[in-house]
């Protein structure tokens, strides 16, 4: 049992134009970091393209066609001011969503403890019928829907620590109590959604943070809102919308998380997963636009995933402890 790394060359060929912050160099920086010795145990897999069936669990048929029809044969096409596609973007988007589904399959078949999808384009702004905010298909939501439809999971949670609110994931989940969406994000910036009052059918938990919030605010949000919501929900699988743009050096927002915060948060999520769902976690890359901060943060996130206590080991230890306790109680009485 190990940690899987899903990534595909098409994701690096998704060209968004000169100077665009959501650029191929992001993946290059990440893969360089994950190519070093501490990550030798990662098992790298190529994801297949997502099927129409997988995509349309979240998106309308017309959205899927609309996006794929707009992929130009050459140069660029701007779906909106910042959401740009080019000849390889279609395959990249399909592989990105396919990675989330393949990772879900592998983790639920117990081929691995957990998985990280180093993919782009990101997904969490993509709504059921709208591509926006660098996102074409909602990779994390598609993975979550896949887990429920194919593996029959009753409850799937997505935790989103990207600095921007995942309006797309919220829109996909807000009427379905089988999903939980929990998000920390900077208040009042793009896309403008994610207020606390947006609660879906009680299955959306938004924790907006003010500009310049940092480590202490993240911990407060976790203990006050996120962890209790996750534990109440008792998910059978946790997906992470792993954006690293809340980092203090990121140019697109003003939160002040650091690498240690990402490590801490990852370990906290893994601890909840160990208690609720045998440690099953699938993490999917979203934003993060300072290349060195992104690479360092992803590295520490993935390292934490790799060091997740094995579900079987944990169960064994728990069993031993309980037996000891029972014996002690017996002796005491």
């Amino acid at each position: 049992m190990t940690t899987l790394l899903y990534t595909h060359s098409a994701c690096q060929e998704h060209d968004t134009g000169f100077g665009h912050p959501e650029c191929a160099a992001r993946l290059t920086a990440i893969l360089n970091a994950l190519g070093t010795a501490p990550f030798a145990a990662l098992e790298r897999r190529d994801p297949p393209e997502a099927t129409r069936e997988q995509l349309t669990r979240i998106h309308s048929q017309s959205h899927v066609e609309h996006v794929l029809d707009r992929i130009p044969k050459q140069k660029y096409y701007a779906i909106d001011g910042d959401t740009v596609v080019s000849p390889r973007s279609g395959e990249a988007a399909l592989r990105a969503a396919g990675a989330a589904c393949a990772a879900v399959d592998a983790v639920l078949r117990q081929e691995a403890n957990n998985a990280f999808c180093a993919i782009r384009p990101p997904g969490h702004h993509a709504e059921p019928a709208q591509a926006m905010g660098f996102c074409l298909f909602n990779n994390a939501a598609i993975g979550a829907a896949h887990a429920r439809a194919v593996h029959g999971l009753e409850r799937v949670a997505v935790i989103d620590f990207d600095v921007h609110h995942g309006n797309g994931t919220q829109a996909a989940f807000e009427h379905d109590p089988g999903y939980l969406y929990v998000s920390t994000h900077q208040a009042y910036i793009y896309p403008g959604t994610g207020r606390r009052e947006e609660r879906g059918v009680g299955n959306i938990v938004n924790v907006p943070l003010l500009a310049e919030s940092g480590s202490a605010d993240l911990r407060h949000a976790w203990h006050q809102d996120i962890e209790p919501a996750l534990r109440r929900f008792q998910p059978k699988l946790i997906l992470i919308s792993a954006g690293f743009d809340a980092h203090y050096l990121d140019p697109l927002a003003e939160l002040n998380f650091n690498e240690d915060d990402y490590e801490w948060l990852t370990r906290e999520i893994l601890a909840v997963a160990a208690d609720c769902c045998e440690g099953r976690v699938v993490s999917v890359l979203e934003g993060g636009y300072n290349l060195s901060a992104l690479a360092a943060s992803v590295a520490i996130h993935v390292k934490a995933l790799m060091e997740a206590p094995r579900a079987a080991q944990r169960a064994l230890v728990k069993d031993i402890l309980e037996r000891r306790k029972a014996k002690r109680n017996e002796n005491d009485s």
Binding site: G17, G19, R70, P72, K73, Y77, D250, P251, N290
Partner: protein
């Protein structure tokens, strides 16, 4: 505009700016403002560790009515030392902060310029509104980024 996102403070700040000693007289500070058109000048010790900022507002502040004098006297006040009126513990920024984030900060706190310090508070630069405006222009006039193309048939 994307180019601007790559800029950090150290790319556009004034490096090793003119600074003033805490023991200097306000008269000297006033002369600095006069000759250089500064909004504010960093106050540093002999090792160039930042002790404070002296802004034009700090100078004016020395002339406000108080309980001790009926009329503030220019020559007396100009003989005071910088450390008596400077802003202590000023807001500082790090050289690697993205310019896009500095911009938000400047607007938020409505400050005209900020001292740039390394770890340990050693002064390495100063960054102003004008530097940011210039960088915005430079970042956007260099090269047009996007060509809007019609979708492929």
């Amino acid at each position: 505009m994307y180019e601007f996102l790559h800029y950090q403070i150290r790319d556009v700040m004034t490096v090793d700016p003119i600074a003033i000693s805490p023991k200097a007289k306000l008269r000297e500070a006033e002369e600095l403002f006069e000759t250089h058109d500064f909004n504010g000048v960093p106050v540093v010790d002999s090792q160039r560790y930042l002790l404070g900022m002296l802004t034009k507002f700090d100078l004016l502040n020395a002339f406000r009515f108080d309980a001790h004098t009926l009329v503030p006297h220019y020559d007396d006040i100009m003989e005071q030392t910088v450390e008596t009126v400077m802003t202590r513990e000023p807001i500082t920024v790090a050289p690697q902060l993205p310019l896009s984030r500095l911009l938000q900060k400047l607007v938020e706190i409505r400050t005209k310029s900020l001292p740039v310090v390394e770890e340990g508070q050693r002064l390495v630069g100063i960054i102003s509104r004008q530097d940011v405006l210039k960088a915005l222009r430079r970042a956007t006039t260099k090269r047009e980024v996007l060509t809007h193309e019609d979708p492929a048939p």
